[in-house]
């Protein structure tokens, strides 16, 4: 392709963008909304994931021992539990340790003179929080284990929430993307209509389909690009604000660093451009059949 031809394509596209400025703005707005909504859900779920990783690393299993288990049995169990796949760390807490810890929490005087009711126990950490359930089940089966406890259900629920958040984000994004494609294709249709005479002359002279098509594709892609850039800008400002607010007011919650957000920017530009290209190719198709 000649440089002059490329210049011609861009000149034509930008002329149309300006000529149909209201439709162009509507298209840009539609693409931006689609991507802002998608981006919000994405950031929400990514952050949830990120925070959960933190919480997860604190998820522990507590296995209470029957009183009948002796010293040898304890070290035997300790070894067996440590050998389970996915177990990161096993820590033995004796009755005495447990009551000491408890006294620390509720106050020493209150428990003075009462016989220690707490059993011996193990605290177990796992590598992958997703496996807490299965590991707990395996521990439960050992002889000498009275009861196994962990944040049953909570972990699963949190994962479920993240999962659904992503699905909903995707669905809403798909709907908005379809709306954007529709609006862009209507914008381009106006351009095609304004230039139908020129297009038919071009075809008679012997222009190839691609020669006719490029200016419209570029117009659509430019609309998509501007829309997605707008979305990135707005999301970046909003997220930055959120990040700082959370950091000041809720310092214990660690949000995904703002730099990570920019990793998604390129993907957003790509999606915007694709939406634009799709929208315009719908409108041109009919006009090329001369």
């Amino acid at each position: 392709m000649k440089l002059r031809t490329i210049k011609y394509f861009f000149k034509e596209s930008f002329t149309s963008l300006i000529r149909n400025r209201w439709m162009s703005l509507a298209s840009i707005g539609a693409v931006a909304s689609a991507l802002i909504i998608f981006g919000s859900f994405l950031l929400l779920s990514v952050n949830f994931d990120y925070i959960l990783k933190d919480v997860e690393s604190q998820v522990e299993i507590t296995a209470y021992l029957e009183d009948s288990v002796d010293e040898a049995g304890i070290s035997e169990l300790n070894k067996s539990i440590g050998a389970i796949e996915g177990v990161k760390e096993v820590k033995f807490i004796s009755k005495e340790d447990a009551i000491e810890e408890f006294k620390e929490q509720v106050g020493r005087e209150l428990l003075e003179g009462i016989e220690n009711p707490l059993p011996n126990s193990f605290r177990i950490k796992v590598n992958d929080p997703h496996e807490v359930g299965t590991v707990a089940e395996k521990i439960q089966r050992f002889v000498g284990i009275e009861e196994v406890k962990y944040g049953k259900g909570i972990v699963e629920k949190l994962f479920n929430i993240i999962y659904w958040m992503r699905i909903i984000g995707m669905v809403i994004m798909a709907v908005f993307a379809a709306v954007s494609i529709f609006i862009i294709s209507n914008t381009i249709r106006l351009t095609v209509f304004a230039r139908r005479r020129e297009i038919s002359i071009m075809k008679y002279i012997g222009a190839t389909d691609w020669f006719v098509r490029w200016p419209f594709l570029i117009e659509g892609m430019v609309l998509g690009l501007i829309g997605s850039s707008l979305a990135i800008g707005i999301l970046a400002v909003a997220y930055n604000y959120l990040f700082i607010t959370v950091k000041i007011n809720l310092p214990m919650i660690a949000l995904l660093p703002i730099e990570e957000f920019y990793n998604y920017a390129l993907g957003f530009l790509g999606i915007g451009m694709l939406i634009g290209a799709f929208g315009s190719s719908f409108s041109i198709k009919r006009f090329l059949k001369v």
């Binding site: 002059r4 020129e198 038919s200 002279i205 012997g206 190839t208």
Partner: protein
């Protein structure tokens, strides 16, 4: 240059526009296609530059069967054909020069060629002095000459014109015909569909007469009617 064998064209509505046409037009010929309105003249022209495809029969252009041309091959056929319409079909917002240059831009000619060929071709149709005018500032005859220049600028093998003088007064029509004759004398094959009886009678070129879609007469140095 062009050969048609048993060409029939039936439009989707069932209208039979051409019936079993056989003809051969050689390189360098000047041919009038005549006949009353609705006889099929425009359809015959459209078949040549493949705006329409025949329902039956075969058409050859420079030895190549164009009935089975792929969609993406059509532009390259059209680059060998200059097309002129009754309504000129110029771009109103472009100047005379730009309208002609546009034809070369579309086929991605080099800037150097465009700068050389466009003034040359405008000179050929006597419009070099109007290069910067807009079509709306020109007379009908001048507009048609711009269209001629645009059709010629890419050096087509053949020029087809569908009622090129249909919108023009007799004097101007003569003028256009003289330009066409001149273009023909320099080697370009020319096919003109027309109603203009007087012009056909005077020019004494080959005449192909259509009636209700059938070829009823094909005569060298003929007149508009027998």
């Amino acid at each position: 240059m062009i050969e048609m064998y048993g060409v029939t064209k039936i439009y989707p509505g069932g209208q039979v526009a051409l019936k079993d046409i056989n003809l051969k037009i050689s390189k360098g010929e000047f041919v009038f296609v005549v006949g009353p309105s609705g006889a099929g003249k425009s359809t015959l022209i459209k078949l040549i530059f493949r705006e329409e495809v025949p329902t039956r029969g075969q058409i050859f252009f420079a030895g190549k069967n164009i009935t089975r041309l792929k969609h993406r091959e059509v532009p390259y056929l059209r680059r060998r054909i200059g097309i002129v319409f009754q309504d000129f079909r110029l771009l109103p917002e472009k100047t005379v020069y730009e309208n002609v240059a546009f034809a070369m831009e579309v086929v991605e000619a080099s800037t150097r060629d465009i700068r050389k060929k466009v003034p040359q071709t405008l000179e050929r149709v006597g419009l070099f002095h109007k290069a910067n005018a807009k079509p709306s500032e020109l007379s009908g005859g001048e507009q048609q000459r711009v269209a001629l220049a645009r059709a010629l600028v890419n050096n087509p093998d053949i020029l087809v014109a569908d009622e090129p003088t249909g919108n023009l007064d007799p004097d101007t029509s003569w003028d256009i015909m003289n330009y066409l004759d001149d273009i023909n004398k320099r080697g370009t094959t020319i096919i003109v569909a027309t109603h203009a009886r007087e012009l056909v009678d005077t020019m004494k070129k080959r005449v192909i007469q259509l009636e209700k879609g059938s070829l009823v007469r094909d005569e060298e140095r003929g007149a508009y009617s027998k």
